[in-house]
């Protein structure tokens, strides 16, 4: 292998590495942006941070396999299509989609999620106009729950 080929190879390696293929020994299935597009029909560009959305989760989680997360939104349910929970640094950041209907009087959902490592939990409200409002809560994870 000559010097030129070697540089090309390193370049390719850097590009692949940058897409987040590797995640320790846990495969990285999707980046946050890919997961937003695939599972929520959103992208980072369409998201606006808003304090109308609230994420309730512990500051510290001993066990990443079982983290209680609540997402609530102070918005008119009629204007909302769905609520989402993402964990930004999970192999697949998408966790849950909750599609609402006129029978849902209050925008609220609670569940338990797995977190691979310390990261942000992202609560997203997708509006019927296609935009998304979000908020974050950082959770310190002692033992990861994905590997």
């Amino acid at each position: 292998m000559n010097r030129r080929d070697f540089i090309k190879l390193v370049g390719v390696g850097l590009v692949l590495g940058g897409t987040g293929v590797s995640f320790g020994d846990i495969p990285r299935f999707y980046t946050l942006e890919e997961a937003l597009r695939k599972f929520a029909g959103l992208s980072k560009k369409k998201l606006v941070k808003s304090n109308k959305v609230k994420v309730i989760a512990p500051n510290l989680a001993e066990d990443g396999a079982n983290v209680k997360v609540e997402v609530l939104a102070n918005l008119d349910p009629k204007k909302v299509e769905a609520l989402y929970i993402f964990s930004d640094d999970n192999p697949n950041p998408f966790i849950l989609e909750f599609k609402v209907s006129p029978y849902i009087p209050k925008l609220y959902v609670k569940t338990r999620i797995k977190m691979a490592k310390t990261s942000y939990v992202r609560g997203i409200v997708k509006l019927k106009n296609g935009k998304g409002l979000y908020n974050l809560k950082k959770v310190e994870v002692v033992a990861g729950g994905c590997g």
């Binding site: 495969p27 998408f94 849902i104 609220y108």
Partner: protein
């Protein structure tokens, strides 16, 4: 494993609404874990979808990844009405289940 697919549906009145709490027994294997003894990858086995119907009408629907914890819990509000709540849910292996409960707020 005998419990897999069984659901517990509970509700209580909270102010003007009903707060539902649903638990479904399921391993929720994300497909990223390795067996600590054999070192082999544990195949993915998780719920993908949960539809909530009230008197036959769809009132909510959930989609999820293996990132939801084992034996998942879902808590949400519904407008109070009398009738039957039905859960229809399935996993990535094509198993389908249904659970029902009479609601009398």
């Amino acid at each position: 494993m005998g419990l897999i697919g069984r659901a517990i549906i509970r509700y209580r009145r909270e102010g003007d609404y009903l707060l539902f709490n649903v638990v479904i027994f399921h391993p929720m294997e994300p497909g990223t874990r390795k067996d600590p003894v054999t070192g082999k990858k544990i195949p993915a086995h998780y719920l993908t979808k949960l539809e909530v119907k009230f008197n036959g009408k769809r009132v909510a629907s959930f989609r999820m990844s293996g990132g939801v914890s084992k034996n998942p819990v879902f808590t949400f509000y519904l407008k109070p009405q009398k009738g039957k709540i039905t859960l229809e849910y399935e996993d990535n292996k094509g198993n389908k289940w249904r659970a029902e409960k009479e609601v009398n707020p």
